[in-house]
């Protein structure tokens, strides 16, 4: 696993994170070992321990409750199991089976993939072509167009929802996967172009020039040269977009709503809203929705953080 601590991301967030001032001078080594490493006294350690405890305990409580017997989960606090953790009769996976089938969480799980994968993969190539043109080609209106894209980064998705709902209504798209795919492709596009262009701008111009001299067309240069070296930026965007779409509630609620095509977030929100659902089911459903993002987080932490940091301004 890669450390969370790393230098400023290679895809600069808009803003002076990679400020010139901090670039000069002798920097403390990035990646963890600084001059202060190991200097923590017990107060610092205690404070950090408490903060970490506060951060992680709610998640642990959710998980423990999700594997407890229904009666116990709703009658006593989850921490009571810590007295006898080895008592196997108190543990069960039945809550997961029940929430997957009775509450259709498994169907929602499949839907989440069916929504997220196309919405993540399709925009990448389209954005990459545009980013290439913005970085390596000269054309009229280039800077104005790009400034427009930068300003659109912060525009909240809400601005598009009312008209899109009516537009989709005319084409009978509401309630279908293409409705959310198209919306997410459009909403993610400014960010995708921005991330990829920021990265491509750091590639040596001479490389492109020399390819041109050797007679390569733009298409060949893009495909053979620029795309292969841009993989880190492509991955950062892909992970950000994947999690953004996977975790989205609003867009799914508006264009899909509860029912046949709902993703996990909509299903979970519905589960919480229903009266009388036991906590063992809600917690199992909650944890179920988190499994994929947590796997992505723990296995691709470095790309994940770059993606999150680069995409955090997305509106």
């Amino acid at each position: 696993m890669t450390a969370v601590s790393q230098g400023p991301p290679p895809t600069p967030v808009p803003g002076p994170v990679t400020d010139r001032k901090t670039m000069g001078g002798r920097r403390r080594q990035l990646g963890g070992v600084g001059e202060n490493a190991g200097k923590a006294n017990w107060i610092v350690k205690a404070v950090l321990l408490i903060i970490c405890f506060l951060w992680i305990v709610p998640v642990i409580g959710l998980f423990i409750t999700s594997v407890r017997q229904p009666d116990a989960a709703n009658a006593t606090g989850w921490w009571t199991v810590l007295k006898s953790p080895l008592d196997a009769t108190q543990w069960t996976l039945a809550n997961y089976t029940e929430v997957a089938t009775e509450s259709n969480m498994f169907r929602a799980f499949i839907n989440s993939f069916a929504i997220t994968l196309p919405a993540t993969l399709i925009p990448i190539l389209i954005a990459a072509f545009a980013a290439y043109a913005f970085t390596f080609m000269e054309f009229k209106g280039r800077d104005v167009l790009f400034i427009m894209i930068v300003s659109l980064l912060v525009v909240p998705n809400q601005v598009a929802l009312v008209p899109l709902l009516q537009l989709y209504g005319q084409f009978g798209l509401n309630g279908t996967f293409p409705a959310v795919w198209l919306a997410h492709i459009g909403f993610g596009m400014p960010l995708a172009i921005f991330i990829l262009r920021s990265y491509m701008a750091t590639l040596p111009k001479e490389l492109i020039e020399s390819a041109k001299v050797d007679g390569a067309t733009h298409f060949t240069t893009f495909w053979r040269l620029v795309i292969p070296v841009s993989v880190p930026a492509l991955a950062s965007f892909a992970i950000f977009q994947f999690l953004w779409v996977w975790n989205d509630l609003l867009v799914a609620l508006i264009f899909l709503g509860p029912g046949e095509n709902e993703p996990m977030t909509v299903n979970l929100a519905g589960l919480i809203g229903q009266q009388g659902q036991g906590w063992q089911l809600i917690t199992a459903g909650g944890f179920f929705t988190m499994i994929v993002p947590l796997i992505v987080f723990l296995s691709l932490q470095r790309f994940f953080i770059r993606g999150m940091v680069a995409g955090s301004v997305k509106g």
């Binding site: 808009p14 994170v17 001078g25 993969l121 399709i122 190539l125 389209i126 598009a160 009516q166 701008a201």
Partner: protein, 327 residues
């Protein structure tokens, strides 16, 4: 079920493959153009699909939203400024605006301060401890807001006095000898809004910590040493040497969290649905559109949100220009 998986797979192949074929063909066409026209047209060919997507799904709808904000609930008749007038004179909407303002003031500030504190303190740990600490604090970033709300709803769960509490917060309160509290209904001093804000802060501090940690580690050591030689205490060195140098990053984190907070929806929707005076404009927009079926009000609310975001937009563009100039 399998049909859905197959549809999704076909869409991926058709979407990605289709885009590729389209670019290939357009590129071939552009190459046929005589002489200088090839180079003049090609850039537009490359950006066309992306710009079309942005135009169709962001710019055109944004324009339509502005238009709809001057029309009635079904967008069939002009009502002039009526939507704005009615919203801004309604007691409930003003309360909603005030609640949103509370979120805007409290959440970004708390997120920056906590993130900076963790970044600075964890910097003093040995690498392994620092890594573990940061992973734990960053973890909630992976979780959806609905998931986060589920986690915290369980923490805030309240049972009548005398019954065993299964929510952590009330278990602690009753263990200390107090009566259990229904946290999400504490309207006094907007305490319930505050409990909702905790969820967003919990989710965002990791982001703030990662950026600020990189900034703190980037402060040149000489400047700190110089301050110490001049007799500055550690506290003075921190506030007078480190803080000014990381200030640009502090601004970036603050603004980023601010944008997220202005349109917050999921947390409030799941936790209270705006009841007990916890409504915010992101949720009010949704409820006007769906529950109330009033597209005019919904559009007017979004336009107000857009107007509020314009200063951030200008800042964003300025920052970008400065960055480009320094490249």
């Amino acid at each position: 079920m399998t049909a859905k998986v197959i549809t999704a797979l076909i869409s991926i192949i058709a979407g990605v493959g289709g885009a590729l074929v389209l670019y290939y063909l357009l590129n071939k066409l552009a190459e046929r153009l005589p002489g200088p026209w090839e180079d003049r047209i090609k850039p537009y060919v490359y950006i066309l699909p992306a710009v079309a997507a942005i135009g169709l799904f962001l710019i055109y709808p944004a324009y339509q939203t502005i238009v709809y904000s001057f029309a009635n609930r079904t967008s069939t008749e002009w009502v002039g400024l009526d939507n704005y007038r009615q919203l801004l004179t309604s007691e409930a909407f003003l309360q909603t605006l005030f609640n949103t303002l509370l979120w805007i003031v409290i959440v970004p500030t708390a997120t920056v301060i906590l993130g900076l504190a963790v970044a600075v303190l964890a910097d003093r740990l040995r690498p392994r401890g620092e890594k573990l600490t940061k992973t734990i604090i960053f973890l909630p970033m992976a979780i959806s807001m609905v998931g986060a709300a589920t986690i915290w709803r369980f923490v805030y769960e309240a049972r009548p006095a005398g019954q065993p509490q299964i929510g952590l917060q009330n278990a602690i309160v009753t263990a200390l000898g107090f009566d259990p509290v229904v946290w999400l209904q504490q309207e006094r001093f907007h305490m319930n809004s505050f409990w909702l804000m905790v969820i967003l802060i919990w989710a965002q501090v990791g982001f703030s910590m990662v950026l600020l940690s990189a900034a703190v580690k980037g402060v040149p050591t000489e400047t700190l040493e110089a301050a110490r030689i001049d007799g500055a205490t550690e506290r003075q060195a921190f506030f007078r040497v480190v803080v000014p140098q990381i200030w640009p990053t502090v601004t970036v984190v603050f603004i980023t969290v601010l944008i997220g907070v202005m349109k917050v929806f999921d947390v409030v929707y799941v936790m209270t649905n705006g009841n007990f005076n916890t409504n915010v404009i992101g949720l009010e927009f949704y409820n006007q559109l769906f529950t109330n079926g009033n597209a005019g009000f919904a559009a007017a609310i979004v336009v107000m949100l857009m107007v509020a975001i314009i200063p951030v937009m200008i800042y964003q563009v300025r920052q970008f220009r400065a960055q480009e100039a320094g490249r």
